[in-house]
Assembly symmetry: C2
């Protein structure tokens, strides 16, 4: 079923112990869309400046990603991020960030996209996330991501958003910052009390945690020996998760669990190369194979 | 089958965000023995000073733990450790340590214990670990633990020990220190190259990793909401693992995996109270129930 994502589209410069890449394609919506497109058609909504590199469009050439919601804004510049993992492969250090077009008005969701049933609101200002959510007529499943900046500056609006959605995806540091609880299960339960049905806490190389009011599901990361570039792992995880869920037609604890395992596997391909390289050299068959390997690697 | 453990027996003072306990029972061999005794009879070998508290003996009163290898050394003092988890529940900060009897000669393994088939060499000087290993006639499975101190000061002897044993259990920081590899899978493979058959890397609240030359098994920690005192979690993990394995009669990838899950569950009881309180208020039935819950909590 129709899956819509709104989020950032950017140009990244990345340094990791393996090497450095300048001006490569990145952004939460880009990783998400590519990852989800292994499972289902994707509608991408986002904005770039008139300096957007041509490679951005080439990346999606043979993918089932509808770019009619991709706005190329005249007089604006594309979002740029320069990050380093030289100190810690599990947490990026931002060396420079130029919000550019992300600091302007939110992109408009095309009328033709307003019937989308599955919606992923990648990290942006929670008021914009609320606006975009309201323009979708009958969503079946709405999941959002967020980041430290909004937790610190727009806490009230973020908590309001959380009460409007089905699931929140965030990383362990963000969960602790949002709830002021160190224990992640306690943190997740606090987030549930804001009115969402499930919380997924991403722990990077340590896996993920799903908490609902009835259930807790723990998942290690896929045991990856060669990590080249962790950028986009969380967005790919969300993309794999939402992509799989949107093919299932119903959202149950069982489908969400399987979806998390798919997200984990897709993310493990993302981190195996710089930028989108890991996803670009992967097939749905390889993802399914890894899903089975992963299930095996944690069964007892 | 007969399971022997050699390691420390001590008196701890512990500070955690939940509270503080002064002069409580602790030590690697104590946690290990209690945890393993849910599964199988245990032979404990260790030394204390003449100041050893009476509670130590009371702790094992109704457990199937043979204390005839527990040496009460005249003129010596018991090992004491004062640790704090106020900064980080996942890593103890040592406030004070008095090695006392641990800095003297190793305890002697009683003749009657030398037929033990399962042996766990809890953390001590690797030369002493080698000596104790040599006094066991026909061990079927030998697993050792170690710590930063020996990695830094007795690296050569430690690597020699690793070549003599079947499995090494160590935590993530130790694995990285020993191998100078940041990636834990790479670190585990490096340890395998020293001549052991399997490596278990404990990641505290993030679970554990088992690596053999054929297989990688990843396991999250049991999702615990209320952590009171993490002291002894790693030793309880090892105790549950070895306790279960020694009842199986054969060591296969499948039994080792199930054993790791048992270790995880036993450790989750340990951290629910100070000192041995969590283990003391637990039954084998509760451990089995948690094992099933844990299997459920990570199945998809």
């Amino acid at each position: 079923m129709s899956l819509l994502v709104t989020g950032s589209i950017g140009v990244d410069t990345i340094e990791t112990p393996v090497g450095r890449r300048d001006n490569v394609i990145g952004g939460s919506a880009v990783y998400f869309s590519y990852a989800a497109s292994f499972f289902t058609p994707v509608r991408l909504v986002g904005a770039v400046g008139e300096d957007a590199p041509q490679e951005l469009f080439k990346v999606f050439e043979n993918r089932d990603v509808d770019l009619s919601g991709l706005e190329i804004r005249k007089g604006s510049k594309t979002f740029r991020w320069h990050g380093s993992y030289l100190r810690d492969m599990n947490e990026a250090e931002t060396i420079q960030v130029d919000l550019n077009v992300l600091a302007e008005n939110a992109p408009k969701i095309p009328e033709a996209f307003c019937d989308s049933r599955y919606l992923f609101l990648a990290n942006t200002h929670p008021v914009l996330q609320q606006q975009m959510l309201r323009s979708i007529k009958q969503p079946k499943l709405v999941v959002a991501d967020t980041m430290n900046l909004w937790i610190q500056t727009e806490r009230k609006e973020l908590i309001k958003l959380i009460g409007m959605i089905d699931g929140l995806v965030l990383n362990d540091g963000e969960a602790r910052l949002l709830t002021e609880k160190k224990n992640l299960i306690q943190a997740a339960k606090e987030v549930l009390s804001y009115g969402t049905k499930f919380v997924v806490i991403k722990k990077g190389e340590h896996g993920a945690l799903l908490v609902t009011d009835k259930d807790t599901f723990v998942l290690p990361a896929f045991p990856a020996e060669n990590v080249v570039d962790p950028t986009g792992a969380g967005d790919s995880f969300a993309g794999g998760m939402m992509g799989y869920l949107s093919t299932q037609g119903h959202v149950t604890p069982a489908t969400v669990k399987r979806a998390l395992a798919y997200g984990t596997c897709v993310a493990s391909f993302t981190i195996s190369d710089f930028s989108l390289g890991g996803l670009q050299s992967t097939t749905r068959e390889q993802i399914d194979q890894r899903w089975n390997d992963f299930k095996q690697a944690m069964s007892f």
